[in-house]
């Protein structure tokens, strides 16, 4: 095999950083979902900020399935904060790992 063919083959076999990055982000979004009181929520900064500033301890929030779910504000806020931190830390570690093994 000529040098150029070998090079083409190597490049094809090389991992594509942008694709891997996108797949990792999708997985992170999956992981950011959390079940609470029979509902399912995607934990985002907006949700955490909303819970942190809402004045009452009890409220209803719409979940992923478009159902109103009864929320204990402090309990859910704590759960969301912990979950968010854990998932985002994991994303950061795995993202660094992807950068390290980046080939093309």
């Amino acid at each position: 095999m000529s040098d150029i063919n070998e090079l083409v083959e190597e490049i094809k076999q090389a991992t594509d950083y942008q694709i891997n990055r996108r797949i990792l982000r999708e997985k992170t979004i999956t992981d950011l979902h959390v079940a609470y009181n029979n509902g399912l929520f995607l934990v985002k900064p907006e949700l955490i900020a909303f819970l942190a500033t809402w004045p009452n301890e009890e409220l209803f929030l719409e979940d992923t399935y478009e159902n109103p779910i009864k929320i204990n504000r402090q309990e859910f806020l704590t759960q969301c904060q912990q979950h968010y931190q854990m998932v985002m830390n994991s994303w950061h570690i795995q993202h660094d790992e992807l950068k390290r093994i980046r080939k093309v």
Binding site: K12, Q13, A14, T15, D16, I19, N20, I23, L24, E26, K27, I29, T30, D31, H33, V34, A35, N38, G39, L40, L42, D63, T64, Y65, E66, N67, Q94, E97, L98, I101
Partner: protein
Amino acid sequence: MTNLNASVKSRGVVLFAFNTDTVNYELIADRARRLITHTLDLPVTIITEMSGSQTNTRLGYAHGTQWFNGDRYRAYELSPYDETLLLDSDYLVLDRALLKILDTTVDYNIMTDNQNFVQTMTGNMGELSLNYVWATAIAFRKTHRSKMLFDLVGRVQNNYRYYSKLYNIRRGNFRNDYAFAIADNIINGYTASPGIPWTMLTVDKTVKALEINNNNIMVREDDAAHVIPKQSLHIMDKVYLQSDAYEEFIEQICKN
């Protein structure tokens, strides 16, 4: 104090496996069972006996090969569990995300969004038709509404020529993805219900190898390789799923 009257709901996974001339689906399902047991710690029921003679042929992937895909609607009656994950045996369960669905009160939830490494694989059943779903992964609990869904899927299957005309379906052969999309649309008041709220990752090319390294999986295809996080995967390459290399991959996963 423990309430002895409290009902404990059973939870498990159901797989269908009907061998064809070219694919040993029972082997693939048994391998899927090992991954599921390891990852989800749930019991698995594998259904291997067909209710009647079925003939179907793949039109897309593995074009022209035998395909026994017709009994999926019987999952409701055949599942011994109150809460069931109904999965294709080519869906590799490598994370616990689907358990979150069972922690909610939805009657059923079907995978709708799918992508391969290059593009989205979500589409419609015909140019003037609805989007189809991916019956590869369905979560359901035994409720009246879920029973209606599965009964209706059976009805669509048994009258498929009629429904394929009614819904302007592009292809002629029966697909569970289409039957569940139609049934869901009807039951939900002629709109689609919210699907599983994340995207399935499908490898639709020939797989040369899967390798696990810490929390990453390397997917080697013929002309590319991808590093992805440890996550559930839909692998279409049945040759790979029957190979010794896949057996070794499972052993590696189950060792950790």
